[in-house]
Symmetry: C2
Subunit: 339 residues, 2 copies
């Protein structure tokens, strides 16, 4: 069940529209979001005043008031956030940009690869190959571009990628596709004793490469999709094998949370679009403490994107279980950070 | 390779000598080790003055001095400690006491189990069953006693166990088998910006049940042996299946570290006895920063225990790679904490 990748439709879209924009080199700044806001009179300035903002603040104030029945001890204030579509934009997935970046570099280093699949299909923007090959072809691509190297090598590759990558369509460095209101929310939660975690469908090391710089979240507070590792004592290095270990999406998210965090989050935030976060929100809602679940609704075609699930599963589930819904259009005063 | 359990010899020893002492009920105190020591003039009072204590302090002072070539940024100050035999006594493993505790409770609840293996063998202290059955029989026991329940149920079981458990031979609550010098070392490292992690061969949730109370280490900073999980949406719970996911021992330790922490530790401490920590120390020694590796030598038959590996692999490897060795007899002024 964990072998199924979930990015095929967007991947195909990207294959046609991306046009290798990742080669532009723009250095990403180093401003640390943890430093920007502590406890101020308006801790969420990029959120419009309204019910949702009030609900968030009321929840945080309620559960941090010692001596009340709703009080949550600081060690149990666990907050989990999905990444793609929840903390930064997901059209396209950054993971796909990285796969393309790797294909380009690998083909440059070894031009013979251009004649081999799945590289050939990427270079030639051959939609049919991936349509026909389905998940198998896609796993082949991710495996070919993300594994077979040591962790140290991967880390360098990821760093180089993030230094230069430009987000297609918006023509900005990847740091500029983070959602400013969510950066404020992360800071606000931390200022109130919450530990903030990323729980991503993306591969864990790619997100770890930027989690501290982009979100103020240390590597060990990132849960994600992982490959199988082996340790080579002679080389003193970890190698990733081309086999998925955990697909941290859908029912894989509570599994990843249990494995890495070991307790239910009391605050969880995901997004509609691929229905990947419902199990995480459901798991959070089972906490013995008062808990808070929230889903980003991508309904702002002007400032961000507008896309909905065909069956509207995420928003229907939110209505059923009374999860909070972020309307980007109405709840966010500002979507992306200033440069 | 991860399916192999490593506790057979001690397990058999325990089967004969333990005598169900876990039934005694003694409430364990709540003193929090994180509160006891910050930065004092003698941060390691239970360590005898000598080369090793000086080396530890010199290392910490060296790598925390900003503006020097040896400086380690705070986010990279990762310290990993094995648990059994490194942070607390391992004769017998607490994990085994827990398995026996579970057998007793399960048989009480369902007396018919007494006639079924592997319960029968435990109840009748049948060494032969486990000798003949080897790893397979042992996995069967761990699976039967540690899985097939929800995480919430397991957490309650672990809590109940730790509240009453008494360590055989020493007749003290489990909190009293922690090593006082190591508690001071954990505090000293944290006071200097290190994040302290437990990397244990034991099952991760059992150690998480006491990591904050016993060691000041949050659940998400515990890496351990894990079973496969499934998420049940209708029941809104995680269940553990009777199949190992990762055996976090030997070469499994660097793998667990990469999966959970995502970076090499700069400080790592294990123990000789089962040669389980060598790969972790080796992985740490490959850090790009100055690093520190240390092995506890159990050579104090009076105050703790005296046991050595037949082939002396851990101490030989320590000599080969110049790891530091803790002689319990000579380096520790005091072994266990005051009551």
């Amino acid at each position: 069940m964990y072998k199924k990748l979930y990015v095929l439709p967007l991947f195909l879209f990207l294959l046609v529209s991306c046009k290798n924009k990742t080669e532009d080199a723009t250095t990403v700044g180093n401003s640390n979001p943890t430093e920007t806001i502590a406890a101020s009179s308006n801790p969420l300035p990029s959120w419009n005043d309204g019910t949702l903002k009030s609900d968030i603040i009321a929840y945080v104030e309620k559960v941090t008031k010692e001596g009340t029945p709703d009080f949550i001890p600081v060690e149990d204030r666990i907050a989990t956030f999905d990444n793609d579509g929840t903390l930064w934009a997901e059209k396209p997935y950054v993971q796909e940009l990285f796969a393309f970046y790797r294909v380009k570099k690998m083909v440059e280093a070894n031009p013979a690869l251009e004649q081999k699949q799945p590289f050939k299909a990427v270079v030639e923007k051959d939609k049919t190959f991936f349509e026909k090959g389905g998940d198998k072809a896609l796993i082949e691509l991710v495996a070919a571009t993300h594994t077979g190297m040591t962790e140290d090598e991967f880390e360098k590759e990821a760093k180089d990628f993030f230094t230069g990558a430009i987000f297609p369509g918006k023509n900005v460095p990847l740091k500029q596709i983070r959602y400013q209101p969510q950066l404020e929310l992360l800071n606000y939660l931390r200022a109130n004793g919450f530990k903030t975690f990323i729980v991503t469908g993306g591969t864990v090391e790619l997100v770890r490469a930027i989690s501290a710089d982009f979100y103020g979240i240390p590597k060990y507070q990132v849960v994600g999709t992982s490959f199988k590792y082996t340790f080579d004592d002679a080389a003193n290095s970890i190698k990733r094998e081309p086999a998925l270990d955990l697909l941290d999406d859908k029912v894989g998210k509570p599994v990843g949370i249990q494995l890495h965090i070991g307790q239910r989050p009391v605050f969880a935030c995901g997004n509609e679009g691929g229905a990947g976060d419902l199990a995480m929100l459901r798991y959070s809602s089972g906490s013995k403490y008062p808990s808070f679940q929230m889903i980003v609704n991508h309904n702002d075609s002007i400032r961000e994107y507008s896309y909905q699930e065909k069956d509207n599963l995420s928003l229907n589930t939110a209505a059923k279980y009374k999860y909070h819904v972020i309307s980007i259009k109405d709840d966010w005063k500002k979507v992306f950070p200033d440069k």
